[in-house]
């Protein structure tokens, strides 16, 4: 690894030129800039550790800016996943000072200037390299949730839904799939062996989203999402300790609005003696 001794003059630290033509590039270094101490985990599946960096920080910057500055000036092969840098795509998930966060939405101003900022990859998933992890688990789970079933009697353009009926599912569709909830959920974070049986908050929320969709015809087609939530997706593993809600960058109330309602819906099916009795009788008569 190479370092540039005078990173102050390196790329990535210069003032930002204006989009507005004619504006002179900002060449003066603002007084608000300072040097921060970072510990960044570097390595791969064979091992690795935290590496120390001292790096310049300017006003208004987020942790991702600092990681980029490290790439441009000190560690050109530092692996990090990112995309939009605006909190909309959910790519730059990592753990900062031990907490699952988006690198692009964590402002440097939340840290003390002399505080060491520790950045590690997500710790619930296999590491690929540096800050990049293998999030394949989530894509596997996504495939296991049966898709939206369109109502057979409605063609394109004939769908009519009221705003109040789509509101709940719309909240869940705000999900940017950053997988921070999947990362923080102790069911899989602390118990690798549960990964097979448990879909994780993101995909239980997907089940809830479809079950609350005003026109989903899965039930008519013979698939009961409420029962499946428990039998196929491991809803029972969730002990509603709410870490998924705590880390959600979109502020989706995953636990209160998706997981608990889903638990109640599953209870409707499986733990309600009246419903149970009704089903028994119906089965006998048919």
């Amino acid at each position: 690894m190479t370092t540039q001794a005078h990173h102050g003059a390196g790329p990535g630290t210069e003032g930002i030129g204006g989009a507005v033509s004619g504006e002179a590039p900002d060449t003066t270094r603002p007084e608000t800039s300072y040097d921060a101490h970072f510990e960044v985990w570097r390595g791969d599946v064979d091992g690795g550790g935290l590496e120390d960096f001292t790096v310049e920080v300017n006003e208004g910057e987020v942790v991702l800016d600092i990681i980029h500055r490290l790439q441009a000036t000190q560690a050109p092969d530092l692996a990090v996943r990112w995309n939009c840098k605006a909190g909309k795509c959910g790519s730059c998930s990592a753990e900062i000072n031990g907490r699952p966060r988006l690198l692009c939405m964590t402002r440097m101003s939340v840290f003390d200037r002399d505080e060491i900022v520790t950045v590690t990859p997500l710790r619930a998933f296999p590491v690929v390299r540096d800050l990049v992890t293998d999030v394949g688990f989530n894509y596997e789970k996504a495939r296991q949730v049966p898709a939206f079933v369109p109502p057979p009697d409605l063609g394109p353009g004939e769908y009519r839904m009221q705003q109040e009926d789509v509101g709940r599912s719309q909240e869940f569709r705000k999900c940017i799939e950053c997988f921070l909830c999947q990362d923080t959920c102790h069911v899989v974070r602390d118990h690798e062996e549960n990964k097979a049986a448990f879909a994780g908050p993101r995909f239980l929320m997907r089940v809830a989203e479809l079950d609350m969709h005003p026109l989903d015809a899965a039930e008519e087609a013979g698939h009961d999402r409420k029962t499946a939530a428990q039998d196929d997706h491991g809803l029972g593993y969730c002990n509603i300790t709410k870490c998924c809600t705590e880390v959600c960058p979109e502020n989706i109330k995953i636990t209160d609005n998706a997981l608990i309602p889903l638990k109640e819906r599953a209870a409707d099916r499986k733990y309600d003696p009246l419903v149970w009795l009704g089903n028994k009788i119906r089965r006998r008569t048919t």
């Binding site: 390196g10 930002i16 910057e61 996943r81 909190g87 959910g90 390299r129 799939e177």
Partner: protein, 659 residues
């Protein structure tokens, strides 16, 4: 050369944004085995950044809307430079494409009678944008992603393999389109050469049809709303494969990007802010847009604040506010205000919704803007105005394609859809027309690529080993292990010269493009840009990276530089050549729109290599050849949708009398 894995698929889609996924769904539904290759994770494509909505003349909010009105708006927005057939297909098919999303599970905001709600947007005569708050792009990408998954679930039921007929190769990059040399010089596409970002492993997908859906080029500019993926890959791949690019001089600068703090400069502030009632003010508190309504739009826009405010409630008896002019006009106006010294403290202007809507309404209608400003700029948009300024947003130019089939002209088997395709939007794209463009032409590209691939079933094109070796060598060059593609003399030189940091080259490129080929252009500056690009090309050739091939961002950037440089040269050359101002192309030295230029497309191709490849690459001549091409005349029935008085402003007398 090490063994490179080969896979056989029927259709390859490069890019998994809106256009790519829509194409993939179509090709798969046509029964063909479809591979999707994308640089990011599945579902992270740049489409998620689209905020405002999908333009489609469903007429749910105003019954007066229909495809003809949408077509008219699109042509006006593009200053009549649009490929009119594309604009027509787009306007006709957009509603179907939106409705189809609902059958795949999309949940748009609703009207009181339960239909899809539609919102106002710049340049659209009626409320036309189907939306979900201000996160429509996310809804679009998620819906398409989930549709792909549902097709995979079908395949799994049938064959036990999710990826039997549609597979997403995520975090992979295509570096070359491979072609089989054909009989009469008609080389046809035979596949793509790719590497896995995660491992650095090379692989080849053999397929008779390749659909480019790689999006735009914004990462060549410093202040941009675009993500790192927007390195013009598809544009460059098409050029290198022998296709041509048109309209590359037209780059859209979105009028409202964030300007403060510096680290978020350029991040988009959705046009919905203005569509829903936000107004632009300068440092004197004046709504300056009233001073910037150009002649061609004079009749359509309000002249007083009172009239403009009345329009939100009563659009039939009031004209629309000038804040809702097409983007190019608003961006220029903001630029002019700042230059005149009436800008905000950080070099933008003020965009205010706080005095126009209740905090509750703002949070409901613009949730992600509220969130974005609160989190990134400490600004509460329900209480104070935003500071905004222009940001590079979209490229109107792209691969020269057949309007109906999305097939790239001159390269059998190559298709392009979405931002990477050119023509549809003319010189300036209307907000909301991008998402509908993705769906309409994504589907068409998938459909016709499938049809084409089916025709090749009996005799699939072959990929020769030497082609793979050459592609692999080029990809390895930044490590200094592969031979330079030029002759040995230059390779030796290169080794002696100092190695370049790819990040530094990239930043210099962004600065050059931003400062010299930005929103307002001058001849001298663009000539200088071409010189600088030549230097940068030279430096990029010496770019060297550390480490190994496993998830190495420095290496990835070094490879992307080739694409950015090619595309930047197209932009600069075309912009220098077009001596008028139109849409996304504004010349300080030629400020007027010229009717003669209306008929002309500037076409970029890869310059014929001279005596040796090295000369073409190192010489100041550049790598791009430019020629002017006449556009086909607009079909009569479409022309008749406009008033004669309006056409006079755009069309030459000759065109008007030729009927």
């Amino acid at each position: 050369m090490a063994h490179v894995e080969r896979q056989q698929w029927d259709v390859v889609i490069v890019g998994a944004g809106g256009a790519g996924l829509r194409a993939a769904i179509e090709a798969r539904e046509q029964g063909l085995r479809t591979a999707v290759i994308c640089k990011s994770l599945f579902g992270k494509a740049h489409t998620v950044m689209a905020e405002g909505g999908i333009a489609a003349s469903m007429g749910n909010v105003n019954e007066g809307d229909n495809w003809q009105v949408h077509f008219r708006d699109t042509m006006r927005g593009g200053k009549f430079l649009n490929q009119w057939r594309m604009a027509e297909l787009h306007a006709r098919e957009a509603p179907e494409r939106v409705w189809e999303l609902e059958t795949w599970g999309a949940l748009f905001d609703r009207t009181p009678d339960g239909r899809i709600s539609q919102r106002n947007f710049g340049g659209h005569e009626y409320p036309r944008l189907a939306h979900v708050g201000d996160r429509t792009g996310l809804e679009l990408i998620r819906t398409l992603q989930q549709k792909v998954v549902s097709l995979q679930q079908e395949d799994f039921k049938e064959s036990g393999d999710y990826e039997a007929r549609i597979k997403v190769f995520q975090e992979c990059t295509v570096t070359q389109i491979l072609k089989e040399p054909g009989s009469e010089g008609e080389d046809r596409v035979s596949g793509v050469f790719c590497y896995e970002r995660e491992s650095g492993r090379f692989f080849v997908i053999e397929a008779p049809a390749v659909v480019l859906a790689t999006g735009g080029i914004g990462k060549s500019f410093k202040v941009t709303s675009n993500s790192w993926e927007y390195t013009g890959d598809g544009h460059a791949l098409a050029l290198l494969a022998g296709a041509s690019l048109i309209n590359m001089e037209f780059v859209q600068f979105h009028p409202t990007g964030m300007v403060w703090p510096p680290s978020v400069k350029g991040i988009l502030v959705t046009e919905s802010v203005r569509g829903d009632g936000g107004v632009l003010r300068n440092s004197e508190g004046k709504r300056f847009m009233f001073d910037y309504v150009p002649d061609v739009f004079k009749e359509k826009y309000a002249e007083s604040e009172q009239e403009a405010d009345g329009w939100y409630e009563d659009p039939d008896n009031n004209r629309r506010p000038p804040e809702l002019l097409p983007r190019d006009e608003v961006a220029r106006a903001i630029n002019a205000e700042v230059k005149a010294g009436r800008g905000s403290p950080h070099g933008g202007v003020f965009l205010d919704v706080s005095t126009r809507m209740s905090a509750e309404t703002i949070k409901r209608r613009l949730p992600s803007m509220h969130h974005q400003f609160r989190e990134l700029a400490d600004v509460d948009i329900t209480a104070e105005p935003m500071e905004v300024g222009p940001t590079c947003h979209y490229v109107m130019g792209g691969v020269d394609v057949d309007s109906d089939t999305a097939a790239a002209r001159g390269v059998p088997g190559l298709f392009a859809a979405g931002e990477v395709a050119g023509g549809m939007h003319g010189s300036n794209r209307l907000g909301g027309n991008s998402l509908s463009d993705l769906l309409v032409f994504g589907r068409r590209a998938g459909l016709y690529a499938a049809e084409y691939a089916r025709g090749c079933a009996r005799e699939r094109p072959r990929v020769a080993d030497e082609q793979i070796d050459t592609a692999a060598a080029e990809a390895l060059r930044p490590f200094g292990v592969g031979p330079a593609p030029a002759d040995e003399e230059t390779a030796g030189e290169a080794a002696e010269e100092s190695a370049e940091n790819p990040y530094a080259v990239h930043q210099d490129l962004q600065r050059a493009m931003n400062d010299l080929v930005g929103i307002i252009r001058r001849e001298e500056e663009m000539s200088e840009a071409l010189d600088r690009l030549a230097e940068l090309r030279e430096r990029a050739r010496r770019a060297k990276v550390e480490g190994h091939r496993q998830f190495n961002p420095g290496w990835h950037l070094a490879l992307d530089l080739r694409n950015m440089l090619l595309v930047s040269e197209c932009v600069a050359r075309a912009a220098l050549n077009r001596t008028e101002s139109r849409g996304g192309h504004t010349r300080d030295d030629h400020p007027e729109m010229d009717r003669e230029w209306r008929r002309a497309n500037l076409v970029c191709t890869l310059a014929a290599e001279g005596a040796s490849g090295a000369e073409a690459e190192t010489g100041r001549a550049g790598r791009i050849a430019l020629r002017r091409r006449e556009m086909p005349p607009i079909r009569k029935d479409l022309l008749e949708l406009f008033e004669k008085e309006e056409l006079i402003k755009y069309l030459t007398d000759e065109e008007l009398t030729s009927e």
